[in-house]
Symmetry: C2
């Protein structure tokens, strides 16, 4: 008789997140998770880059941090200095940049350096799920500020800051995604950026600027980053190559003053971010980034058009959305009778994955009938078929959409 199995469960600390379920493969129609367009991955360029950088300096892989120290592969940081100047208008040096394992690690490090249980921060009401979750796990209260078609509402932010101050609360930061907001796809105009910086200065609260999607603005033109516009330096900035090159390459970055950088370095105890990925990215970006990104944008915009057309065809007036200014996702409002969390569950059973609104907002009532659809990864055909199949599930569960032509259910 074999002895009883060891039981780990009694050892788990209180508050441990629930067990993950076993992964069972990707669903057929996947509108989640910020995956990119496989056909637009610059594969030849990455292969050439891998060959060239490995032949030249591959032996440095025998050394933790290569020859660059804990802030990451120096040539990649130097490329970022130029890219950040050209794109976001940021003046910085390689010493102001920390390469991270995706921008998620950037968020972790900023949170670890600034937050503790019981703190309050301000965020956009609709906001990246991963940022909301991290705050809740830390026991930090996120105060959500509503958005409109131009991003965060400055008047409501002013009210919130004022009310918090009257209650003796100094928020630890104001977290914003000002350039292609996630999930709404808005861009904060220049004048609102100025007002945001003025308010932050007036209330002595730093800004945490998440600029992960800013390479994917359709027009290729964007307002300067808050980091670039700040006269007093109270901004921490993060970015990523996940959206512009490939998400499975886990490479992001933080730009921050040394006062914060030196603390983040002290808590970044991972012995470095993957060096091969940094080397290949740097080598590719030297010559390939500026021509790749416009091609990617055009491709993504084409998929967005397919998604919008598919929604119009399959959902008719039941699906409302603004035109995002760039990015990889569309924020969709369905009739109030639709609970997108339930829709998400039913859709999954039919092989369709969506992001239910309540996961992307701190206002659960507002987000209940909203959803985020990512359009970069599925093909045009998958987008069209997937949206039609989603409409079918929605019709079955909630009675909407009716046939947009006749007002009665239509065959797919």
């Amino acid at each position: 008789m074999s002895p009883a199995q060891f039981e780990f469960a009694p050892l788990f600390p209180a508050g441990l997140p629930p067990a993950a379920v076993r992964w069972t493969g990707r669903v057929k129609y996947d509108f989640t998770f910020g995956n990119n367009d496989p056909d637009r991955l610059p594969l030849d360029g990455l292969i050439t880059a891998a060959n060239s950088v490995l032949r030249r300096e591959g032996r440095t892989l025998a050394t933790y941090f290569l020859s660059s120290g804990p802030q990451g592969y120096r040539p990649l940081r130097e490329i970022l200095v130029a890219q950040l100047k050209a794109g976001a208008g940021i003046d910085c040096t390689a010493d102001d940049i920390l390469i991270t394992s995706g921008s998620l690690q950037g968020i972790e490090l900023v949170n670890r350096t600034l937050l503790e249980r019981g703190d309050t921060v301000i965020i956009e009401q609709e906001c990246f799920e991963g940022s909301i979750n991290r705050l809740l796990r830390l026991g930090v209260t996120p105060v959500g500020i509503p958005l409109d078609g131009d991003g965060i509402r400055i008047d409501l932010l002013a009210n919130a800051l004022d009310e918090l101050k009257r209650n003796g609360i100094r928020p630890k930061y104001i977290y914003v995604i000002p350039t292609v907001q996630n999930p709404t796809g808005t861009i904060l105009p220049l004048e609102r950026r100025r007002e945001l910086l003025r308010l932050a200065a007036a209330y002595d609260v730093p800004l945490f600027e998440d600029d992960c999607y800013s390479d994917l603005v359709w027009s290729g033109e964007r307002p300067p980053a808050l980091y670039a516009m700040s006269a007093r330096g109270g901004v921490v900035y993060i970015g990523s190559f996940s959206k512009s090159i490939a998400p499975a390459l886990r490479v992001g970055y933080v730009v921050a003053p040394w006062e914060v950088m030196s603390r983040m370095l002290a808590v970044k105890t991972d012995a470095g971010t993957g060096a091969l990925e940094q080397m290949v990215l740097a080598e590719f970006c030297k010559t390939g980034f500026s021509s790749h990104v416009p091609m990617l944008r055009r491709s993504l915009r084409g998929k967005l058009e397919t998604l919008k057309e598919s929604l119009r065809r399959s959902f008719g007036a039941a699906a409302q959305f603004d035109d995002p200014k760039g990015g990889i996702f569309l924020w969709v409002t369905l009739p109030e009778s639709v609970d997108t969390l339930k829709l998400h569950q039913c859709a999954l059973a039919a092989g369709i994955a969506i992001n239910p609104g309540v996961q992307w907002s701190v206002n659960k009532a507002y987000a209940r009938n909203r959803m985020r659809l990512c359009f970069a990864s599925p093909s045009h055909e998958e987008i069209s078929h997937g949206v039609a199949a989603l409409a079918e599930v929605c019709r079955r569960e909630f009675g909407v959409p009716r046939d947009p032509e006749s007002g009665s259910p239509r065959p797919l």
Copy 2:
């Protein structure tokens, strides 16, 4: 007049680690940090692997987790199944393996899943600095068990378990590096492994087995892993490619029962470990691992001989050490008058880096005159010159070694 700079310091939470100092480049003679031998890096093999795997399936980089799900690139896990069977005697499937960003992330995930502030764990008295530090940062008490030439002292472990039990304390785990212990280089013999498993079972405490160096046993033969020997499954196992292939590739792994795996997955919120590194490693290891590792071992053993010879020449009887059974480090005892923390500081100023013993032990008095020297990265010439220069610093600061020939200081 420019406005005053924003001050972040008042926002830092209590207990934040002190600021890092700016990196100023590698020292001339670096005997720290587990770097590998750049001349033994299998560069041609890695380049061939990168080409081949990227051409075949590079477009999957557009998808988080590739097509493999959150436990990591499936072909790499399948290779590990075979490697772990052949080397450590472990019977497992790809579903029992989680690929991590270095084994450090493995340690973080295990700790996150099992520990909370106020807990107690048992470790080897001399132990990997990164493991000790993580415990202390978590507010967990590590109880250190002395080692001898055959690894952890089972009699003293039994005493400690007994005393803890009498005090009503159930340790959360027993953490051991049984195969090429860090820093002592011992291998726990089969019989002690049996006794360790018996004790762990008797006290109902799980084992946390860190097997990072086990590919580097000089003889190429090793006892089976505790994971393999455990009849009741109370073992979590971690390993790494950092020591066998390249440390800057941040790829490690955890083998654990689903009860623990499912909890680790829930707290591994990094959107995946770097995929390019996993893909290139898997492709290389398919054909290259089994011929590469013996070559690496021979090279490392040659460098160990150079280190021992250099120590005998420059330190004479002042440097005492046992012959490690494998690995990349030597644990050296200096005369009691030598404080290796001070030696470390003075040596750094002279361009020599060593690991002072107190950082690698929970018994500060015992470790005060001990040090860890890593020998994989410096060349034979650097080892020889570096040890001579270290002896010179030590002689200047502590009056030892005297000239091993004449009893008086000797010129270098």
